[in-house]
């Protein structure tokens, strides 16, 4: 309490200084006069009386000074002094100041930029109440296949009985394929999911209007009800206040709108409509097409939830013995955030490490500048010391200057870094369906990355850290200098001891540049590997558009067959269009797999012969994609329901399962035992086609998966009834020239052909191919930028040191040349010096890089983290740049005139 009062008084004392000083002077004066009078009274002569009084007071000025220190906050006042002086010094050397501030701005800005993304993705809580209590329930497999996010309805029905740990559980569609909003003048496809009623409790969904659906409504045979998003309500329905109770046509059903979500409620995959899942507890649907989430009960730990899930998995195995659960399969709970960001975390941490290195480099460079300047300022500092500045005071003065530099750099860096990252994120469309670039939680085009207190605090921390890092060493060194020596030297020559620390700094800079370059080089190699991959199809001039088949006519296979034939007739004859086909999935972006049995073979995998990628396509698919037929025939219009069931496989699959080559005519039974919707007659293999890369994610370089293709027109009625209204497929249209110019007539023709269904997500196949490298490209671009900065900073560092060294050794060089050294010997000497430092730096850097690049392994494709080619390039590039950086000062050394140099002595 007392000390607080003292503080307030002292801070108040900072103001009205003049008045306080006057008052004190008056008080002391009256004290003095009283003392003199007393002394006179005691019989002293006037002169003596005054002298004695002054002695007893102990010096008027010292007393005033002691009171002044006591009254205000002396350190604050001297800080203000330091700042004023520092400002003057920085203004006097605009070149130095500009270079230092800019270097620091780059270093700090890079950190702010990356941290603002890291903060949003890895640190900020997700936008749900108590989001850290939400877990994703998922399958696991022993043997390193990792975590599988999806599950099936029967598994969920068992899992959800773990009510001791889960307060609420929910199951919903994986991926939000898109739901058709028909009725009204403008049919539209909007992202929607089927979700169980628990969804609204798990995510604690706020409601603007109405309510969420209940568990009763979510039972099989329940009413058709839907919840719509605030955005859809405002957009399509114009914010209609009467929306509750209105009937809308969703996926061919008449659904009653019962609720509108809160304005700020956001989902990780954009979603505008939620409809009931109405999953049956007795379902035998074994397809793993759903995501399960849960909210933990208060007090339950993640570890407890994991144990519960393991138990639940075993319960399921006991309930459904047999093939529906693989031997190594179990289940676990994972924090919802981790399940969202798990795949990008390593990349973000690597970027954070990279900018850390950039900052270190910037610090090293500024420290180098300061060390060089300290030689120039030696005299100034010596004079200050001579005038009574203590060592601490000198260090404080120099550190204040460093802090000012780093704060100026920090402010500039914050502006640069933050706007930079926002511009960059805006260039990379996020959440584009299957775009390959998917940084979760940052919003559309990075809109969720905002300047918040955490970023400001981080930048402030970085500034302080930076100032100490680059400022302390030069400050301590500068304050060390013995007074008389520096005053006598006249400031033209510096000591040699200083260049040791400068050399160490340069070695460190080269090493860091090597590390960053190595990382960038590995990613560039990855990118070129990815880009060199032949997809197995011709992506030029192919337009793809997604469609969800809803409506009563698509509950049966014949409806889909009719739509395909109608589309071939209408779209195929459009001017500029060569061919059109339907396929379930876009190549390179994955799809589903199904287990199968080969007739006449004993099962090797549980009750199956194997489990491979499964695609349905229309007859023209291979023609549109220009995939070669290697053997047998492709599908045709006669491969419909009722005719002989057929299948085409790719070359990889043929080689893997029929190594002897006798494939055509073999029969296989696909999906047997998964559930009634997958039951079908055995299919005859009628053809082998060239390999298409169906996906890249999770594949090792060069690996192509086996694929089986079945005719879309042969999907069974039970299957069609099962997917009812949610069958998502893609139209592929080959055009004669640039595909987008035909987009509108194609869309119109497809709508007419399918009875008014809208298309969505229109892209060219070229875009899809580019999208597969977007993420690597993004990381690679950032790392390359950082590496380029690193090279520049390191080169400046080497150049600076060598130039300084030449300047310092002018006399020595002059003497050498006077004694007969040739200019090229001198050049060689300087180059050797620079070369030696670079070499040590490269050695240190390569060692460190080898230790660090293995953390990048998840980002690499087709390249080993110790890739000799990448490392070789790095060493050569850095070596060359170092030689150039040292060559300029070396040439200057060559031109030293011995006479001028010697006359300096």
């Amino acid at each position: 309490m007392r000390s607080l009062r003292v503080w307030i008084m002292r801070i108040a004392g900072l103001f009205a200084k003049r008045r306080h000083d006057d008052e004190l002077a008056a008080e002391l004066e009256s004290h003095l006069q009283m003392h003199i009078e007393d002394n006179l009274r005691a019989g002293m002569p006037p002169e003596e009386a005054r002298r004695q009084a002054l002695i007893d007071l102990g010096g008027m000025e010292q007393t005033k000074e002691a009171c002044r220190d006591r009254r205000g906050l002396p350190w604050l006042e001297s800080l203000a002094q330091d700042v004023r002086f520092g400002l003057r010094m920085l203004r006097k050397n605009p070149g130095f100041t500009a270079v230092a501030v800019l270097t620091l701005a780059i270093g700090i800005g890079a950190n702010t930029a990356i941290f603002s993304v890291v903060s949003k993705v890895l640190i900020d809580p997700m936008p749900y109440p108590h989001a850290d209590r939400i877990v994703m329930l998922r399958r696991t497999f022993t043997g390193g296949i990792g975590l599988y996010p999806t599950t099936s309805i029967p598994k969920f029905m068992v899992w959800r009985q773990q009510t001791k740990v889960f307060k609420s559980v929910a199951l919903y569609d994986w991926g939000a394929a898109g739901m058709n909003l028909t009725g009204g003048s403008r049919p539209e496809q909007v992202p929607g999911i089927r979700a169980s009623a628990g969804y609204f409790q798990v995510f604690a969904v706020p409601m603007t209007l109405g309510r969420a659906y209940t568990r009763e409504e979510d039972k099989p045979g329940g009413p058709h009800v839907a919840v719509i998003s605030y955005r859809l309500w405002q957009g399509r329905f114009g914010g209609d206040p009467q929306i509750i109770g209105r009937t809308i046509e969703v996926a061919g059903n008449a659904d009653e709108v019962i609720g509108v979500t809160g304005r700020n409620f956001s989902t990780q995959v954009p979603t505008d409509i939620w409809v009931t899942l109405q999953a049956s507890p007795n379902s035998r649907d074994q397809a793993h097409d759903y995501v399960a989430v849960a909210r933990l009960r208060p007090g339950v730990t993640l570890a407890q939830a994991r144990i519960a899930m393991k138990l639940a998995a075993e319960q399921f195995r006991r309930k459904y013995p047999g093939p529906v659960m693989s031997p190594g399969e179990s289940a676990t709970a994972q924090l919802f955030r981790d399940s969202m960001v798990g795949s990008v975390r390593p990349a973000l941490l690597i970027l954070l490490g990279a900018v850390g290195f950039v900052l270190l480099l910037a610090c090293a460079n500024v420290a180098n500048l300061l060390l060089a300047r300290a030689t120039v300022r030696k005299r100034e500092i010596a004079i200050r010391s001579a005038l009574g500045a203590g060592r601490k005071r000198v260090i404080r003065q120099l550190l204040t200057e460093s802090l000012m530099l780093s704060f100026a750099g920090g402010i500039l860096g914050l502006a640069l870094g933050f706007t930079g990252i926002r511009l960059l994120l805006a260039r990379y469309p996020n959440n584009s369906v299957g775009g390959g670039f998917d940084l979760p939680l940052i919003g559309s085009r990075g809109s969720a990355v905002t300047l918040d207190w955490r970023i400001l605090l981080f930048t402030l921390g970085v500034c302080l850290f930076t100032a100490i890092l680059f400022g302390l060493l030069p400050a301590i060194q500068a304050s060390h200098a013995p007074l008389s020596q520096s005053l006598n030297e006249g400031g033209s020559r510096g000591g040699t001891h200083r260049s040791t620390s400068r050399s160490a700094l340069v070695v460190g800079e080269v090493a860091i540049a090597v590390i960053l370059l190595a990382g960038a080089a590995l990613l560039i190699r990855t990118l070129s590997t990815l880009r060199a991959l032949r997809p197995g199809f011709d992506p030029h001039n192919v337009l793809v558009m997604q469609m969800t088949f809803s409506g009563p006519q698509y509950d049966k296979a014949a409806g889909l067959a009719a739509a395909i034939q109608e589309a071939e007739r209408r779209v195929g004859t459009l001017p500029g269009v060569q061919s059109v086909a339907l396929g379930c999935c876009v190549p390179l972006q994955g799809g589903s797999d199904l287990p199968f049995n080969i007739e006449g073979r004993t099962p090797t995998m549980g009750s199956w012969s194997g489990d491979e990628q499964w695609r349905f396509i229309s007859p023209e698919f291979f023609k549109v994609m220009r995939v070669p037929l290697l053997s047998g025939r492709v599908f045709n219009d006669r491969d419909v329901l009722g005719s002989e069931p057929v299948v085409i496989i790719n070359q990889v699959m043929a080689k893997l399962y029929w190594p002897k080559g006798d494939v055509i005519g073999q029969r296989m039974l696909i999906g047997h035992g998964l559930g009634p919707e997958f039951e079908e007659a055995p299919r005859t293999v009628v053809g082998i086609v060239g390999n298409i890369r169906e996906r890249l994610v999770g594949m090792t370089a060069g690996e192509i998966e086996p694929v089986m293709y079945v005719p879309a027109e042969q999907l069974g009625d039970p299957f069609m009834a099962w997917v009812r209204g949610t069958l998502s497929a893609t139209w592929f249209v080959r055009t004669k020239t640039a595909p987008f110019s035909f987009s509108t007539p194609i869309q119109n023709a497809l709508r007419t052909a399918t009875g008014g269904l809208p298309v969505a997500d229109i892209r060219s196949m070229d875009q899809v191919v580019r999208g597969t490298t977007a993420w690597s490209g993004f990381i690679g671009m950032l790392l390359s930028t950082f590496a380029a900065i690193a090279i520049c900073l390191a080169a400046i560092g080497i150049y600076g040191l060598m130039a300084y060294s030449v300047e310092q050794r002018k006399q020595e060089i002059g003497i050498r040349m006077a004694l007969g050294a040739q200019p090229k010997d001198v050049r060689g000497m300087i180059l050797k010096e620079g070369g030696a430092l670079t070499l040590v730096g490269i050695l240190v850097g390569v060692t460190a890089a080898l230790a660090l690049t293995r953390f990048m392994v998840t980002l690499l494709y087709g390249v080993k983290p110790w890739d000799p080619a990448a490392f070789g390039c790095v060493v050569i590039l850095l070596g060359a740049i170092a030689v150039v950086a040292a060559y300029v000062p070396a040439r200057r050394a060559m031109r030293v005139d011995p006479m001028t140099a010697l006359r300096h002595e």
């Binding site: 008084m9 009256s30 004290h31 009283m34 010292q62």
Partner: protein, 114 residues
Amino acid sequence: MGGGKSDVWQGTLALMVLKTLQAMGPMHGYGIARRIEQTSGDRLAVNYGTLYPALLKLEQEGYVQSEWGVSDNNRKAKFYRLTRAGRKQVTREAREWEKTTAILARFLSPERQS
């Protein structure tokens, strides 16, 4: 410093100032210094220079208050007087001090103890 006078330690000076103000009522700086010397029987020499920072500190802590007044010889001077907090502080400090001296006394003349 001749005459066998001791310097006043900083810590005790504050207590002496407070005690003096308690005994004498409001006083100016010079008066306080002279009074402390007199009370000590001229065995203490107050370096007047240290008195003013000490007074300032007491004022910041809220134990004394100052205002300008006129001295006996018609001279303008700053007068210090004890506040309520200051009076409490005197009692507290004095008690502390007595305790300390009592303990020290036991060390310095142990034979009296038994």
